[in-house]
């Protein structure tokens, strides 16, 4: 998986969910596909940030794919 993409996901989780949750997410990189990761992030962020802000963050992430 793209390192920049991984780093950005970590930063995103750190920003909104704190370090512990960000570190938990890093564990998923090893055996999950990018599509799965993106889908799960979209789901979590939409619930937490609302549709519009979540989409804004997802669009930023997609630049690294």
């Amino acid at each position: 998986m793209n390192t920049l993409f991984q780093k950005d996901i970590y930063e995103l989780f750190l920003k909104y969910f704190g370090r512990s949750t960000a570190e938990a997410y890093v564990g998923l990189y090893a055996d999950k596909s990018e599509d799965f990761i993106l889908l799960s992030i979209t789901e979590l962020l939409t619930e937490y940030l609302g549709k519009e802000k979540a989409q804004e963050e997802i669009d930023k992430l997609k630049k690294y794919l």
Partner: protein, 263 residues
């Protein structure tokens, strides 16, 4: 685990009943109970800092907000000691210093969160509906009149006037904070984070209303006269609202972490 809002309401009504039904000579019991709330709000702030850690923007903002709450809690405790244990008029005293010191920390903490939601230079009037701006203007006028203009006493010494007016100025900053928080609710739409900020805004709004009423009836309040003493209930509800928001958000973050681990 889902935090029950009804539990917080129950606690509030329990202590409110003690205030309303209790006799005046038992006021010290109510005021002792009151201290639980600012301490609880500070503790939930510490839990929130632990959840986010200090190496990111939210953790740093929460640290500032919690520091402000801590100063307010110390102010409440010192006020309580002066009033109930030492039988000294708590105004003006070091307690006021702690209360006033809390404001800049909270203001800066909320501003940092606002910048996280709106990183580019943004004018509040472009984000917020006109009705919000009008309410803020009305509140500003009320605070300027009761909290600044009426707080000035030409017969009082400079220090007393400075402290009295500082509360009004702190509240003006609180109004600006409310606008920042409202803009965050707009930014986060219908998400869970918006709910968090709604509870925060309710908490600060309750503080603001309590401060305005206190500025008008501070003598009656200090003499434990009913119903003026019920101003405590507004401050108490404010602390509870902040504590609920912080705790509920922490529990939600833990839930998210568990969900991730189960993926």
């Amino acid at each position: 685990m889902k935090l029950k809002f009804s539990l917080f309401l129950f606690i509030f009504f329990l202590v409110s009943s003690a205030y309303v039904l209790g006799v005046e000579k038992h006021a010290i019991i109510n005021q002792t109970l009151f201290l639980i709330f600012p301490i609880f709000a500070t503790l939930t702030g510490l839990l929130a800092i632990k959840t986010y850690s200090l190496n990111n923007a939210t953790g740093k903002s929460l640290f500032l907000i919690t520091t402000g709450l801590f100063f307010w809690a110390v102010g409440e405790i010192v006020w309580y000691i002066f009033k109930n244990l030492l039988n000294i008029d708590p105004f003006p005293s070091i307690a006021d210093g702690f209360f006033i010191l809390g404001y800049p920390f909270i203001v800066i903490g909320l501003y940092k969160e606002f910048k996280k939601a709106h990183p580019k230079p943004t004018s509040l009037h472009r984000i917020l509906p006109v009705s919000y701006m009008l309410i803020a203007l009305l509140l500003t006028a009320i605070v300027l009149y009761f909290g600044v203009y009426s707080a000035y006493d030409s017969t009082a010494v400079f220090l007393n006037n400075m402290i009295a007016i500082s509360y009004g100025i702190g509240d003006l900053f609180l109004i600006i904070n409310l606008l920042f928080v409202l803009s965050m609710i707009q930014a986060y739409g219908g998400g869970r984070l918006a709910t968090f900020w709604k509870a925060i805004i309710l908490g600060f709004l309750l503080f603001l209303v309590a401060d305005i009423i206190f500025a008008i009836y501070n003598i009656e309040y200090t003499e434990n006269i009913k119903p003026y003493i019920y101003i405590d209930l507004l401050w108490m509800a404010g602390y509870l609202s902040l504590a609920y928001a912080l705790l509920d958000n922490c529990l939600y973050i833990h839930k998210v972490k568990k969900r991730i681990q189960q993926l």
